[in-house]
Symmetry: C2
Subunit: 197 residues, 2 copies
């Protein structure tokens, strides 16, 4: 059974990016640290070809079975569209108010959709029996507010970033109960919740 | 060796109280749910005399060895000063800009201190070899900003509260690295970090 999973790396104080985000500083000041569990770096700051180990490697490997992904421009644009590919193959649905303009990259696997329910619905159809992964703060919040998230997978990095972009800045409303379904400790603490409805 | 520990129950989205906090609604709308792991309720909402079980009971029992506590008025006033006692005995240092005024309760074990470093220093001297527990969002933030917290103990409740008072709303500054030192799963996920300096 395909699930739609909000999947984010986040600091203990709830940030997914540091302050001063720009197109060239997409994770904000200090934000790259949030991804060290999946993209470890050496002392010079260069990515290690060997990648993560242990639990972190297992968590990274899970991305290989993603059937489609949904994210926002704040995720895809600073990443340069990952060269037109995310998770080595599956289609990417980008929740955005506008299509790419003249001079902006258009990648064949990317589809721009201005409605969150349509973006996730199209991703679910494309994914078939595989899971859909949802990423980004704005996109994640829109998907939660619309009741479209089945599970929340957090990679909690042992860091107080103090400032930046918060993962959870939801619209006021009735609290949502979660059920903790998995905890694994690596360089990050990987915590997975089911959204109860 | 005595440690100074920020200890808070918090929702997955980082709130320690729901919206609409008042003196009679000290945890805000829906906020009591954050304390169900330590003060479980029956179907009518009455506290169970039996208290928590398992891991949650172990975590609650740890409060019995607290040597002193530090909190703010936002914690102590809506709780009615816990009848003048917190954690069954040890002194309470209240970080507040002003002493209680005429008509406000004064409890013999409570000392009002308007400087965070002095509040924690006095608590540490009172605690001797026992740990000092720090509670409250404003008090916790002031203590972290002042570099006075050794460990952060979070009781993460499986809930998206969506709105309310955030635990972490720190002053901008250099990120603080943490080290995960304990994870235990009960009704809440109990996660303890050491602050690296």
């Amino acid at each position: 059974m395909s699930k739609t999973i909000l999947d984010m790396s986040v600091s203990v104080d709830g940030f997914i990016a540091g302050p001063n985000e720009t197109i060239d500083n997409g994770l904000g000041d200090g934000g790259q640290r949030l991804h060290d569990w999946v993209l470890p770096r050496d002392a010079d700051g260069d990515f290690l070809e060997s990648g993560p180990t242990g639990v972190d490697a297992e968590m990274k490997a899970a991305y290989q079975s993603v059937g489609a992904s949904v994210c926002g421009r704040g995720t895809v644009d600073p990443a340069g569209g990952w060269g037109g590919d995310a998770y080595a193959g599956p289609p990417v649905f980008i929740y955005a108010r506008r299509q790419p303009g003249p001079g902006e990259s258009r990648w064949p696997k990317f589809t721009y959709v201005d409605d969150i329910a349509e973006a996730i619905g199209r991703a679910q159809r494309a994914a078939g029996d595989a899971d859909v992964i949802v990423q980004g703060a704005g996109t994640g919040q829109a998907a939660i507010d619309a009741g479209l998230i089945d599970e929340v997978q957090l990679h909690v990095v042992p860091l107080l970033l103090r400032d930046g972009r918060r993962l959870f800045d939801l619209s006021p409303g009735a609290p949502l109960d979660l059920e903790l379904i998995d905890v694994r400790q690596g360089d990050a603490l990987h915590v997975r919740y089911r959204v109860l409805r």
